[in-house]
Protein backbone atom coordinates (compact mmCIF):
# COMPACT_ATOMS: atom_id res chain seq x y z
CA UNK A 1 0.00 0.00 0.00
CA UNK A 2 2.80 2.40 0.94
CA UNK A 3 4.62 1.62 -2.28
CA UNK A 4 1.45 2.34 -4.25
CA UNK A 5 0.84 5.62 -2.44
CA UNK A 6 4.47 6.50 -3.06
CA UNK A 7 4.01 5.84 -6.77
CA UNK A 8 0.88 7.97 -6.85
CA UNK A 9 2.80 10.81 -5.18
CA UNK A 10 5.72 10.52 -7.61
CA UNK A 11 3.35 10.51 -10.57
CA UNK A 12 1.55 13.65 -9.56
CA UNK A 13 4.88 15.43 -8.92
CA UNK A 14 6.06 14.46 -12.38
CA UNK A 15 2.76 15.66 -13.83
CA UNK A 16 3.59 19.13 -12.44
CA UNK A 17 7.32 19.27 -13.15
CA UNK A 18 7.81 23.03 -13.38
CA UNK A 19 5.70 23.77 -10.36
CA UNK A 20 7.38 21.05 -8.32
CA UNK A 21 10.75 22.48 -9.23
CA UNK A 22 9.83 26.08 -8.43
CA UNK A 23 8.27 25.14 -5.15
CA UNK A 24 11.41 23.38 -3.93
CA UNK A 25 13.72 26.25 -4.90
CA UNK A 26 13.27 27.77 -1.45
CA UNK A 27 14.33 24.51 0.19
CA UNK A 28 17.22 24.06 -2.24
CA UNK A 29 18.58 27.53 -1.53
CA UNK A 30 18.03 27.18 2.20
CA UNK A 31 19.78 23.82 2.45
CA UNK A 32 22.64 24.98 0.22
CA UNK A 33 23.06 28.10 2.39
CA UNK A 34 23.13 26.04 5.58
CA UNK A 35 25.72 23.63 4.11
CA UNK A 36 27.92 26.46 2.87
CA UNK A 37 27.74 28.46 6.10
CA UNK A 38 28.53 25.41 8.22
CA UNK A 39 31.38 24.40 5.93
CA UNK A 40 32.92 27.87 6.18
CA UNK A 41 32.47 27.83 9.94
CA UNK A 42 34.02 24.39 10.26
CA UNK A 43 36.87 25.42 7.97
CA UNK A 44 37.58 28.51 10.03
CA UNK A 45 37.46 26.55 13.23
CA UNK A 46 39.85 24.01 11.72
CA UNK A 47 42.23 26.84 10.78
CA UNK A 48 42.12 28.29 14.28
CA UNK A 49 42.85 24.90 15.80
CA UNK A 50 45.75 24.34 13.43
CA UNK A 51 47.24 27.74 14.17
CA UNK A 52 46.97 27.19 17.92
CA UNK A 53 48.56 23.77 17.49
CA UNK A 54 51.42 25.31 15.53
CA UNK A 55 52.35 27.27 18.64
CA UNK A 56 53.62 24.04 20.04
CA UNK A 57 52.25 20.79 21.29
CA UNK A 58 50.63 20.53 24.70
CA UNK A 59 51.88 23.98 25.57
CA UNK A 60 51.17 25.57 28.93
CA UNK A 61 52.13 29.17 29.64
CA UNK A 62 52.79 30.46 33.15
CA UNK A 63 52.78 34.25 33.39
CA UNK A 64 52.80 36.66 36.30
CA UNK A 65 49.40 37.96 37.37
CA UNK A 66 48.55 41.13 39.24
CA UNK A 67 48.09 42.45 42.73
CA UNK A 68 45.49 44.91 44.02
CA UNK A 69 42.58 46.16 42.02
CA UNK A 70 40.33 45.44 45.01
CA UNK A 71 39.67 46.99 48.42
CA UNK A 72 41.45 50.24 47.57
CA UNK A 73 44.75 48.60 46.74
CA UNK A 74 46.26 49.91 43.52
CA UNK A 75 46.19 47.49 40.56
CA UNK A 76 49.66 46.47 39.45
CA UNK A 77 50.54 44.03 36.69
CA UNK A 78 53.42 42.03 38.07
CA UNK A 79 56.76 41.61 36.39
CA UNK A 80 60.21 40.83 37.75
CA UNK A 81 58.66 38.07 39.83
CA UNK A 82 59.59 34.63 38.47
CA UNK A 83 63.14 33.27 38.59
CA UNK A 84 64.84 30.36 36.87
CA UNK A 85 64.55 28.43 40.17
CA UNK A 86 60.75 28.41 39.78
CA UNK A 87 61.22 26.73 36.43
CA UNK A 88 63.29 23.93 37.97
CA UNK A 89 60.63 23.40 40.62
CA UNK A 90 57.94 23.22 37.94
CA UNK A 91 59.91 20.69 35.94
CA UNK A 92 60.41 18.50 39.01
CA UNK A 93 56.82 18.83 40.23
CA UNK A 94 55.23 16.16 38.04
CA UNK A 95 56.04 13.46 35.54
CA UNK A 96 53.35 14.98 33.33
CA UNK A 97 55.77 17.81 32.53
CA UNK A 98 58.60 17.02 30.12
CA UNK A 99 60.02 20.44 29.26
CA UNK A 100 60.16 23.85 30.91
CA UNK A 101 61.83 26.87 29.44
CA UNK A 102 62.01 30.38 30.92
CA UNK A 103 61.15 33.05 28.39
CA UNK A 104 62.10 36.67 28.21
CA UNK A 105 61.07 38.66 25.17
CA UNK A 106 60.83 42.14 23.72
CA UNK A 107 60.51 43.89 20.35
CA UNK A 108 63.90 45.24 19.38
CA UNK A 109 65.47 46.76 16.30
CA UNK A 110 67.79 44.34 14.51
CA UNK A 111 70.31 45.36 11.84
CA UNK A 112 72.44 43.77 9.22
CA UNK A 113 74.48 46.31 7.33
CA UNK A 114 71.98 48.74 5.81
CA UNK A 115 68.93 46.54 6.42
CA UNK A 116 67.01 46.64 9.65
CA UNK A 117 63.82 45.19 11.03
CA UNK A 118 61.77 45.40 14.21
CA UNK A 119 61.40 41.89 15.48
CA UNK A 120 60.55 40.01 18.62
CA UNK A 121 63.70 38.88 20.35
CA UNK A 122 63.08 35.88 22.59
CA UNK A 123 65.46 34.45 25.14
CA UNK A 124 64.84 30.76 25.84
CA UNK A 125 66.47 27.41 26.56
CA UNK A 126 67.50 24.93 23.93
CA UNK A 127 64.42 22.82 24.69
CA UNK A 128 62.26 25.64 23.30
CA UNK A 129 62.70 23.79 20.00
CA UNK A 130 60.53 20.95 21.29
CA UNK A 131 58.16 23.16 23.24
CA UNK A 132 57.36 25.40 20.24
CA UNK A 133 57.70 22.55 17.78
CA UNK A 134 60.25 24.51 15.78
CA UNK A 135 61.40 23.25 12.37
CA UNK A 136 64.52 24.59 10.72
CA UNK A 137 65.14 25.45 7.08
CA UNK A 138 68.88 25.76 7.57
CA UNK A 139 71.49 25.52 10.29
CA UNK A 140 70.79 24.36 13.83
CA UNK A 141 68.77 25.39 16.87
CA UNK A 142 70.21 26.44 20.24
CA UNK A 143 71.98 23.73 22.22
CA UNK A 144 72.56 23.57 26.00
CA UNK A 145 76.18 24.69 25.69
CA UNK A 146 75.02 27.94 24.04
CA UNK A 147 73.12 28.54 27.26
CA UNK A 148 75.96 27.58 29.54
CA UNK A 149 78.55 29.70 27.77
CA UNK A 150 76.15 32.58 27.18
CA UNK A 151 77.00 32.43 23.50
CA UNK A 152 75.87 35.28 21.32
CA UNK A 153 74.10 33.16 18.76
CA UNK A 154 70.64 33.55 17.26
CA UNK A 155 68.05 31.47 15.41
CA UNK A 156 65.95 33.72 13.18
CA UNK A 157 62.48 33.47 11.70
CA UNK A 158 61.91 33.23 7.99
CA UNK A 159 60.58 36.76 7.67
CA UNK A 160 63.58 38.18 9.52
CA UNK A 161 65.89 36.34 7.17
CA UNK A 162 64.05 37.68 4.13
CA UNK A 163 64.17 41.23 5.42
CA UNK A 164 67.79 41.29 6.49
CA UNK A 165 69.27 38.98 3.88
CA UNK A 166 67.18 39.41 0.75
CA UNK A 167 69.93 38.23 -1.59
CA UNK A 168 72.35 36.20 0.47
CA UNK A 169 72.65 33.30 2.85
CA UNK A 170 72.25 34.28 6.48
CA UNK A 171 73.98 31.43 8.31
CA UNK A 172 77.21 32.57 9.95
CA UNK A 173 76.50 36.27 9.41
CA UNK A 174 76.47 38.63 12.37
CA UNK A 175 73.54 40.89 13.14
CA UNK A 176 73.25 43.76 15.57
CA UNK A 177 70.46 43.82 18.14
CA UNK A 178 69.82 47.28 19.52
CA UNK A 179 68.76 47.66 23.12
CA UNK A 180 68.06 51.00 24.79
CA UNK A 181 71.61 51.29 25.99
CA UNK A 182 73.81 49.18 23.76
CA UNK A 183 74.33 47.41 20.42
CA UNK A 184 74.91 43.67 20.74
CA UNK A 185 76.38 41.50 18.03
CA UNK A 186 74.94 38.00 17.45
CA UNK A 187 75.90 35.27 15.02
CA UNK A 188 73.13 33.55 13.10
CA UNK A 189 73.15 29.76 13.48
CA UNK A 190 69.74 28.76 12.09
CA UNK A 191 66.71 29.84 10.10
CA UNK A 192 63.26 28.58 11.04
CA UNK A 193 60.69 27.18 8.59
CA UNK A 194 57.73 29.55 8.02
CA UNK A 195 54.86 28.86 10.41
CA UNK A 196 52.63 31.79 9.73
CA UNK A 197 50.82 33.99 12.13
CA UNK A 198 49.46 32.09 15.09
CA UNK A 199 46.94 34.14 17.04
CA UNK A 200 48.69 37.23 18.39
CA UNK A 201 52.24 36.15 17.58
CA UNK A 202 54.04 36.24 14.28
CA UNK A 203 56.36 33.30 14.62
CA UNK A 204 58.22 34.15 11.43
CA UNK A 205 59.34 37.50 12.81
CA UNK A 206 61.06 36.01 15.87
CA UNK A 207 64.69 35.86 16.84
CA UNK A 208 65.51 33.23 19.45
CA UNK A 209 68.69 33.61 21.49
CA UNK A 210 69.99 31.71 24.56
CA UNK A 211 68.13 32.71 27.70
CA UNK A 212 71.26 33.51 29.71
CA UNK A 213 72.64 35.71 26.93
CA UNK A 214 69.33 37.55 26.63
CA UNK A 215 69.19 38.16 30.38
CA UNK A 216 72.66 39.65 30.67
CA UNK A 217 73.25 41.31 27.31
CA UNK A 218 69.81 42.42 26.11
CA UNK A 219 67.45 42.76 29.04
CA UNK A 220 69.77 43.34 31.99
CA UNK A 221 67.38 41.43 34.19
CA UNK A 222 67.67 38.45 36.53
CA UNK A 223 64.00 37.58 36.26
CA UNK A 224 61.87 35.44 33.96
CA UNK A 225 58.92 36.92 32.04
CA UNK A 226 57.08 33.67 31.65
CA UNK A 227 57.52 29.93 31.57
CA UNK A 228 56.72 27.84 28.56
CA UNK A 229 55.86 24.35 29.78
CA UNK A 230 55.31 21.26 27.68
CA UNK A 231 53.06 18.54 29.03
CA UNK A 232 53.77 14.92 28.18
CA UNK A 233 50.50 14.51 26.28
CA UNK A 234 47.18 16.24 25.79
CA UNK A 235 45.67 13.95 28.38
CA UNK A 236 48.36 14.97 30.87
CA UNK A 237 47.70 18.69 30.46
CA UNK A 238 45.26 18.84 33.35
CA UNK A 239 47.67 17.05 35.70
CA UNK A 240 50.53 19.31 34.62
CA UNK A 241 48.47 22.43 35.31
CA UNK A 242 47.59 21.15 38.78
CA UNK A 243 51.25 20.48 39.55
CA UNK A 244 52.29 23.94 38.32
CA UNK A 245 49.54 25.49 40.38
CA UNK A 246 50.79 23.73 43.54
CA UNK A 247 54.37 24.91 42.99
CA UNK A 248 53.37 28.48 42.27
CA UNK A 249 50.86 28.71 45.09
CA UNK A 250 53.40 27.31 47.57
CA UNK A 251 55.74 30.12 46.67
CA UNK A 252 53.47 33.11 46.02
CA UNK A 253 50.49 32.25 48.31
CA UNK A 254 48.12 34.17 46.06
CA UNK A 255 46.28 32.82 43.03
CA UNK A 256 46.17 36.30 41.50
CA UNK A 257 49.95 36.59 41.34
CA UNK A 258 50.35 34.04 38.56
CA UNK A 259 48.31 32.95 35.56
CA UNK A 260 48.36 29.52 33.96
CA UNK A 261 47.01 29.23 30.42
CA UNK A 262 47.01 26.00 28.48
CA UNK A 263 46.83 25.56 24.79
CA UNK A 264 44.02 23.05 25.22
CA UNK A 265 42.02 25.59 27.15
CA UNK A 266 42.64 28.20 24.48
CA UNK A 267 41.73 25.65 21.84
CA UNK A 268 38.43 24.77 23.43
CA UNK A 269 37.52 28.41 24.02
CA UNK A 270 38.31 29.33 20.47
CA UNK A 271 36.53 26.39 18.90
CA UNK A 272 33.55 26.98 21.15
CA UNK A 273 33.41 30.58 20.00
CA UNK A 274 33.66 29.63 16.37
CA UNK A 275 31.08 26.88 16.81
CA UNK A 276 28.64 29.30 18.44
CA UNK A 277 29.16 31.64 15.53
CA UNK A 278 28.64 28.84 13.02
CA UNK A 279 25.43 27.71 14.67
CA UNK A 280 24.18 31.28 14.75
CA UNK A 281 24.92 31.79 11.07
CA UNK A 282 23.42 28.42 10.19
CA UNK A 283 20.37 29.47 12.19
CA UNK A 284 20.02 32.55 10.04
CA UNK A 285 20.37 30.40 6.94
CA UNK A 286 17.77 28.05 8.39
CA UNK A 287 15.27 30.90 8.41
CA UNK A 288 15.34 30.68 4.63
CA UNK A 289 14.41 27.03 5.09
CA UNK A 290 11.42 28.12 7.11
CA UNK A 291 10.44 30.46 4.31
CA UNK A 292 10.96 27.59 1.87
CA UNK A 293 8.73 25.44 4.05
CA UNK A 294 5.96 28.01 3.95
CA UNK A 295 6.36 28.01 0.17
CA UNK A 296 5.86 24.25 0.18
CA UNK A 297 2.75 24.57 2.31
CA UNK A 298 1.43 27.21 -0.06
CA UNK A 299 2.01 25.08 -3.14
CA UNK A 300 0.52 22.04 -1.44
CA UNK A 301 -2.60 24.02 -0.57
CA UNK A 302 -2.87 25.15 -4.18
CA UNK A 303 -2.38 21.56 -5.25
CA UNK A 304 -5.11 20.34 -2.89
CA UNK A 305 -7.49 23.00 -4.19
CA UNK A 306 -6.69 22.17 -7.81
CA UNK A 307 -7.08 18.48 -7.25
CA UNK A 308 -10.28 18.68 -5.23
CA UNK A 309 -12.01 16.69 -7.93
CA UNK A 310 -9.30 14.03 -7.94
CA UNK A 311 -9.67 13.74 -4.17
CA UNK A 312 -13.44 13.37 -4.60
CA UNK A 313 -12.98 10.64 -7.21
CA UNK A 314 -10.48 8.78 -5.03
CA UNK A 315 -12.85 8.96 -2.08
CA UNK A 316 -15.77 7.76 -4.19
CA UNK A 317 -13.88 4.67 -5.29
CA UNK A 318 -12.88 3.80 -1.76
CA UNK A 319 -9.93 5.92 -0.55
CA UNK A 320 -10.05 6.47 3.20
CA UNK A 321 -8.99 9.64 4.95
CA UNK A 322 -5.71 7.98 5.84
CA UNK A 323 -4.99 7.14 2.20
CA UNK A 324 -5.48 10.74 1.12
CA UNK A 325 -3.46 12.11 4.07
CA UNK A 326 -0.59 9.74 3.31
CA UNK A 327 -0.65 10.61 -0.37
CA UNK A 328 -0.33 14.36 0.18
CA UNK A 329 2.14 14.06 3.06
CA UNK A 330 4.33 11.81 0.94
CA UNK A 331 4.13 14.31 -1.86
CA UNK A 332 5.33 17.18 0.29
CA UNK A 333 8.05 15.08 1.93
CA UNK A 334 9.15 13.90 -1.48
CA UNK A 335 9.28 17.50 -2.66
CA UNK A 336 11.33 18.76 0.26
CA UNK A 337 13.69 15.81 0.38
CA UNK A 338 14.30 16.25 -3.33
CA UNK A 339 15.01 19.89 -2.53
CA UNK A 340 17.26 18.67 0.27
CA UNK A 341 19.29 16.44 -2.04
CA UNK A 342 19.69 19.16 -4.65
CA UNK A 343 20.49 21.67 -1.90
CA UNK A 344 23.17 19.44 -0.39
CA UNK A 345 24.79 18.93 -3.80
CA UNK A 346 24.61 22.64 -4.54
CA UNK A 347 25.99 23.41 -1.09
CA UNK A 348 28.95 21.09 -1.61
CA UNK A 349 29.63 22.63 -5.03
CA UNK A 350 29.24 26.11 -3.55
CA UNK A 351 31.58 25.41 -0.64
CA UNK A 352 34.20 23.92 -2.94
CA UNK A 353 33.92 26.92 -5.27
CA UNK A 354 34.29 29.32 -2.36
CA UNK A 355 37.44 27.62 -1.13
CA UNK A 356 38.87 27.42 -4.66
CA UNK A 357 38.07 30.97 -5.72
CA UNK A 358 37.78 32.86 -2.46
CA UNK A 359 40.63 31.01 -0.82
CA UNK A 360 38.56 30.38 2.32
CA UNK A 361 39.04 27.12 4.02
CA UNK A 362 35.78 25.14 3.93
CA UNK A 363 35.13 21.81 5.55
CA UNK A 364 32.01 19.75 4.81
CA UNK A 365 31.25 17.52 7.74
CA UNK A 366 28.93 14.50 7.50
CA UNK A 367 26.88 15.79 10.42
CA UNK A 368 26.05 19.05 8.63
CA UNK A 369 24.87 17.12 5.58
CA UNK A 370 22.86 14.72 7.75
CA UNK A 371 21.25 17.54 9.73
CA UNK A 372 20.46 19.60 6.63
CA UNK A 373 18.90 16.64 4.86
CA UNK A 374 16.83 15.44 7.78
CA UNK A 375 15.73 19.02 8.32
CA UNK A 376 14.40 19.11 4.77
CA UNK A 377 12.37 15.96 5.41
CA UNK A 378 11.04 17.43 8.64
CA UNK A 379 9.98 20.57 6.81
CA UNK A 380 8.07 18.48 4.30
CA UNK A 381 6.35 16.63 7.11
CA UNK A 382 5.57 19.72 9.16
CA UNK A 383 4.37 21.95 6.36
CA UNK A 384 2.61 19.08 4.60
CA UNK A 385 0.40 18.14 7.54
CA UNK A 386 -2.07 20.96 7.20
CA UNK A 387 -2.62 20.66 3.41
CA UNK A 388 -2.86 16.86 3.70
CA UNK A 389 -5.37 17.15 6.51
CA UNK A 390 -7.34 19.62 4.46
CA UNK A 391 -7.37 17.26 1.49
CA UNK A 392 -8.46 14.29 3.60
CA UNK A 393 -11.27 16.27 5.23
CA UNK A 394 -12.94 17.19 1.96
CA UNK A 395 -16.52 16.06 1.63
CA UNK A 396 -16.66 13.56 -1.27
CA UNK A 397 -19.88 15.01 -2.74
CA UNK A 398 -18.59 18.59 -2.64
CA UNK A 399 -15.26 17.45 -4.03
CA UNK A 400 -16.90 15.59 -6.91
CA UNK A 401 -18.99 18.62 -7.81
CA UNK A 402 -15.92 20.88 -7.87
CA UNK A 403 -15.16 22.24 -11.34
Amino acid sequence: MFVETFKIAVKSLIANKLRSFLSILGIVIGIAAVIIVISIGEGTSYNIKESIRSLGTNLILVAPGKIGGKAGVRYVSLSDLFTEKDGEKILNSSDAIINVSPVIQKNLLVEYRRNNVDSQVVGAYANYEDILNVKLDEGRFLIPSDENYKRRVAVIGNEVAENLFPYEDSIGKTIVINTAVSRQVFKIIGVMTPKGRALFQNLDNMIIVPFSTAQTRLFHSKYVQLFAVQAKSTADTKRAIDAIDRVMFAKYKDVDKYKITSQEELLSTMSETSRTLTIMLAGIAAISLLVGGIGIMNIMLVSVAERTREIGIRKAIGAKRRDITTQFLLESILLTSLGGIIGVLLGIIGATTISNIGGWKTLITPWSVAIAFSFSILIGLFFGIYPAHKAASLDPIEALRYE
Binding site: I317, G318, K320, R321
Partner: protein, 226 residues
Amino acid sequence: MNSLVEVKNITKIYGMEAATVKALRGVSLNVKHGDFIAIMGASGSGKSTLLNIIGCLDRSTTGDVLIEGKNTNILTDSQLAEIRNEKMGFVFQNFNLLHHLNALENVETPMIYAKKKRNERLERAKMLLERVGLADRMKHLPTQMSGGERQRIAIARALANSPELLIADEPTGNLDSKTGEEILDFFVLLKNEGLTIILVTHEENIAAYADKIFHMKDGLIVDEEG
Protein backbone atom coordinates in the same frame (compact mmCIF):
# COMPACT_ATOMS: atom_id res chain seq x y z
CA MET B 1 -34.40 -13.01 -0.90
CA ASN B 2 -32.82 -10.33 1.24
CA SER B 3 -32.74 -6.73 0.20
CA LEU B 4 -29.39 -5.35 -0.91
CA VAL B 5 -30.42 -1.81 -0.11
CA GLU B 6 -33.21 -0.76 2.20
CA VAL B 7 -34.01 2.93 2.39
CA LYS B 8 -36.31 3.73 5.31
CA ASN B 9 -38.08 7.06 5.31
CA ILE B 10 -34.99 9.21 4.86
CA THR B 11 -34.80 12.98 4.75
CA LYS B 12 -31.93 15.20 3.74
CA ILE B 13 -31.84 18.84 4.75
CA TYR B 14 -29.10 21.15 3.52
CA GLY B 15 -28.12 24.41 5.16
CA MET B 16 -28.76 25.79 8.61
CA GLU B 17 -31.83 27.23 10.35
CA ALA B 18 -33.71 29.70 8.16
CA ALA B 19 -31.87 28.94 4.91
CA THR B 20 -32.58 25.20 4.77
CA VAL B 21 -33.33 23.23 1.65
CA LYS B 22 -35.21 19.96 1.99
CA ALA B 23 -33.73 17.77 -0.74
CA LEU B 24 -35.44 14.60 0.49
CA ARG B 25 -38.65 14.64 2.49
CA GLY B 26 -39.13 11.02 3.48
CA VAL B 27 -38.12 8.48 0.88
CA SER B 28 -38.39 4.72 1.25
CA LEU B 29 -37.07 2.25 -1.28
CA ASN B 30 -36.11 -1.39 -1.50
CA VAL B 31 -33.50 -2.76 -3.88
CA LYS B 32 -33.16 -6.51 -4.13
CA HIS B 33 -30.18 -8.43 -5.42
CA GLY B 34 -30.26 -8.50 -9.18
CA ASP B 35 -32.65 -5.53 -9.58
CA PHE B 36 -32.14 -3.03 -12.37
CA ILE B 37 -33.97 0.07 -11.26
CA ALA B 38 -34.12 3.59 -12.62
CA ILE B 39 -34.83 6.76 -10.66
CA MET B 40 -36.34 9.51 -12.76
CA GLY B 41 -37.05 13.10 -12.07
CA ALA B 42 -36.40 16.67 -13.12
CA SER B 43 -33.31 18.39 -11.85
CA GLY B 44 -33.79 19.37 -8.21
CA SER B 45 -36.15 16.50 -7.55
CA GLY B 46 -33.65 14.96 -5.11
CA LYS B 47 -32.73 11.94 -7.25
CA SER B 48 -28.98 12.60 -7.10
CA THR B 49 -29.11 13.20 -3.36
CA LEU B 50 -30.87 9.87 -2.91
CA LEU B 51 -28.28 8.16 -5.09
CA ASN B 52 -25.38 9.69 -3.11
CA ILE B 53 -26.89 8.49 0.16
CA ILE B 54 -27.46 4.97 -1.19
CA GLY B 55 -23.88 5.07 -2.54
CA CYS B 56 -22.57 5.89 0.95
CA LEU B 57 -21.06 9.14 -0.32
CA ASP B 58 -23.41 11.11 1.90
CA ARG B 59 -25.50 10.57 5.03
CA SER B 60 -29.20 11.17 5.52
CA THR B 61 -30.43 13.77 7.99
CA THR B 62 -33.00 11.39 9.43
CA GLY B 63 -34.02 7.83 8.56
CA ASP B 64 -31.89 4.76 7.95
CA VAL B 65 -30.17 3.19 4.98
CA LEU B 66 -29.35 -0.48 5.30
CA ILE B 67 -26.80 -2.08 3.01
CA GLU B 68 -27.08 -5.86 3.21
CA GLY B 69 -28.83 -5.34 6.52
CA LYS B 70 -26.11 -3.08 7.96
CA ASN B 71 -27.25 0.37 9.10
CA THR B 72 -24.94 2.92 7.51
CA ASN B 73 -25.77 5.52 10.16
CA ILE B 74 -23.67 3.74 12.73
CA LEU B 75 -20.68 3.23 10.44
CA THR B 76 -17.58 5.44 10.52
CA ASP B 77 -16.38 7.39 7.50
CA SER B 78 -13.67 4.86 6.98
CA GLN B 79 -16.15 1.94 7.10
CA LEU B 80 -18.29 3.77 4.54
CA ALA B 81 -15.19 4.12 2.37
CA GLU B 82 -14.73 0.37 2.61
CA ILE B 83 -18.33 -0.24 1.53
CA ARG B 84 -17.88 2.12 -1.44
CA ASN B 85 -14.71 0.31 -2.32
CA GLU B 86 -15.96 -3.25 -2.02
CA LYS B 87 -19.73 -3.22 -2.55
CA MET B 88 -20.31 -0.28 -4.90
CA GLY B 89 -19.23 0.76 -8.31
CA PHE B 90 -19.86 4.29 -9.52
CA VAL B 91 -20.42 5.52 -13.03
CA PHE B 92 -20.80 9.26 -13.38
CA GLN B 93 -22.15 11.54 -16.09
CA ASN B 94 -18.77 13.24 -16.54
CA PHE B 95 -16.78 9.99 -16.18
CA ASN B 96 -14.63 11.25 -13.27
CA LEU B 97 -11.47 9.50 -14.37
CA LEU B 98 -8.04 10.43 -13.02
CA HIS B 99 -6.72 12.28 -16.05
CA HIS B 100 -3.00 11.81 -15.38
CA LEU B 101 -3.38 8.02 -15.15
CA ASN B 102 -3.83 5.78 -18.17
CA ALA B 103 -6.81 3.47 -18.63
CA LEU B 104 -5.15 0.52 -16.94
CA GLU B 105 -4.05 2.58 -13.93
CA ASN B 106 -7.50 4.08 -13.57
CA VAL B 107 -9.06 0.64 -13.40
CA GLU B 108 -6.36 -0.49 -10.96
CA THR B 109 -6.96 2.34 -8.49
CA PRO B 110 -9.94 0.85 -6.56
CA MET B 111 -7.98 -2.40 -6.21
CA ILE B 112 -5.04 -0.46 -4.77
CA TYR B 113 -7.35 0.87 -2.06
CA ALA B 114 -8.62 -2.69 -1.56
CA LYS B 115 -4.96 -3.71 -0.95
CA LYS B 116 -4.93 -6.26 -3.75
CA LYS B 117 -1.60 -7.58 -5.01
CA ARG B 118 -0.02 -6.01 -8.06
CA ASN B 119 -0.27 -9.09 -10.29
CA GLU B 120 -3.87 -9.70 -9.35
CA ARG B 121 -4.69 -6.05 -10.02
CA LEU B 122 -3.05 -6.00 -13.43
CA GLU B 123 -4.66 -9.22 -14.51
CA ARG B 124 -8.16 -8.15 -13.48
CA ALA B 125 -7.79 -4.64 -14.90
CA LYS B 126 -6.69 -6.06 -18.24
CA MET B 127 -9.54 -8.54 -18.24
CA LEU B 128 -12.08 -5.81 -17.49
CA LEU B 129 -10.72 -3.47 -20.15
CA GLU B 130 -10.86 -6.30 -22.68
CA ARG B 131 -14.42 -6.90 -21.66
CA VAL B 132 -15.44 -3.30 -22.31
CA GLY B 133 -13.62 -3.44 -25.65
CA LEU B 134 -10.56 -1.35 -24.85
CA ALA B 135 -7.93 -4.09 -25.06
CA ASP B 136 -5.80 -2.06 -27.47
CA ARG B 137 -6.09 1.25 -25.58
CA MET B 138 -4.96 0.29 -22.10
CA LYS B 139 -1.93 2.58 -22.01
CA HIS B 140 -3.81 5.61 -23.32
CA LEU B 141 -4.71 8.56 -21.15
CA PRO B 142 -8.42 9.38 -20.83
CA THR B 143 -7.76 12.73 -22.50
CA GLN B 144 -6.75 10.88 -25.67
CA MET B 145 -10.08 9.04 -25.79
CA SER B 146 -13.64 9.66 -26.85
CA GLY B 147 -16.51 10.07 -24.41
CA GLY B 148 -17.77 6.56 -25.02
CA GLU B 149 -14.34 5.08 -24.43
CA ARG B 150 -13.94 7.09 -21.25
CA GLN B 151 -17.27 5.87 -19.94
CA ARG B 152 -16.21 2.31 -20.68
CA ILE B 153 -13.05 2.83 -18.63
CA ALA B 154 -15.27 4.15 -15.85
CA ILE B 155 -17.46 1.03 -16.03
CA ALA B 156 -14.40 -1.21 -15.95
CA ARG B 157 -13.20 0.72 -12.90
CA ALA B 158 -16.63 0.39 -11.26
CA LEU B 159 -16.44 -3.38 -11.70
CA ALA B 160 -12.87 -3.65 -10.43
CA ASN B 161 -13.63 -5.02 -6.97
CA SER B 162 -16.62 -7.14 -8.13
CA PRO B 163 -19.24 -4.91 -6.50
CA GLU B 164 -22.78 -5.88 -5.51
CA LEU B 165 -24.25 -2.65 -6.73
CA LEU B 166 -23.55 -0.47 -9.74
CA ILE B 167 -24.62 3.14 -9.25
CA ALA B 168 -24.92 5.16 -12.43
CA ASP B 169 -25.72 8.87 -12.30
CA GLU B 170 -26.83 10.02 -15.78
CA PRO B 171 -24.24 7.71 -17.39
CA THR B 172 -25.27 8.65 -20.91
CA GLY B 173 -25.72 12.37 -20.28
CA ASN B 174 -22.50 13.34 -22.04
CA LEU B 175 -22.70 10.77 -24.83
CA ASP B 176 -24.38 10.69 -28.22
CA SER B 177 -27.43 8.44 -28.41
CA LYS B 178 -25.72 5.59 -30.23
CA THR B 179 -22.86 5.39 -27.71
CA GLY B 180 -25.40 5.78 -24.91
CA GLU B 181 -27.31 2.78 -26.19
CA GLU B 182 -24.14 0.70 -26.25
CA ILE B 183 -23.48 1.58 -22.64
CA LEU B 184 -27.03 0.70 -21.62
CA ASP B 185 -26.90 -2.57 -23.52
CA PHE B 186 -23.80 -3.40 -21.54
CA PHE B 187 -25.70 -2.58 -18.32
CA VAL B 188 -28.38 -5.06 -19.33
CA LEU B 189 -25.70 -7.64 -19.95
CA LEU B 190 -24.27 -7.03 -16.48
CA LYS B 191 -27.75 -7.22 -14.98
CA ASN B 192 -28.31 -10.56 -16.62
CA GLU B 193 -25.10 -11.76 -14.96
CA GLY B 194 -26.65 -10.88 -11.60
CA LEU B 195 -25.35 -7.37 -10.91
CA THR B 196 -27.71 -4.96 -9.17
CA ILE B 197 -27.96 -1.60 -10.92
CA ILE B 198 -29.42 1.74 -9.87
CA LEU B 199 -29.63 4.23 -12.68
CA VAL B 200 -30.53 7.89 -12.35
CA THR B 201 -31.76 9.72 -15.41
CA HIS B 202 -34.24 12.28 -16.60
CA GLU B 203 -34.82 10.63 -19.96
CA GLU B 204 -37.74 8.24 -20.45
CA ASN B 205 -36.08 6.13 -23.16
CA ILE B 206 -33.07 5.47 -20.95
CA ALA B 207 -35.14 4.66 -17.89
CA ALA B 208 -36.97 2.17 -20.11
CA TYR B 209 -33.95 -0.15 -19.96
CA ALA B 210 -34.64 -0.71 -16.24
CA ASP B 211 -37.03 -3.28 -14.81
CA LYS B 212 -38.48 -0.85 -12.34
CA ILE B 213 -38.78 2.95 -12.49
CA PHE B 214 -39.24 5.33 -9.56
CA HIS B 215 -40.41 8.86 -10.33
CA MET B 216 -39.29 11.61 -7.97
CA LYS B 217 -40.58 15.10 -7.47
CA ASP B 218 -39.71 17.65 -4.80
CA GLY B 219 -37.87 15.18 -2.62
CA LEU B 220 -40.49 12.45 -2.68
CA ILE B 221 -41.09 9.30 -4.71
CA VAL B 222 -44.37 10.07 -6.45
CA ASP B 223 -44.77 7.11 -8.76
CA GLU B 224 -43.50 3.59 -9.28
CA GLU B 225 -43.67 1.56 -12.50
CA GLY B 226 -42.82 -2.01 -13.29
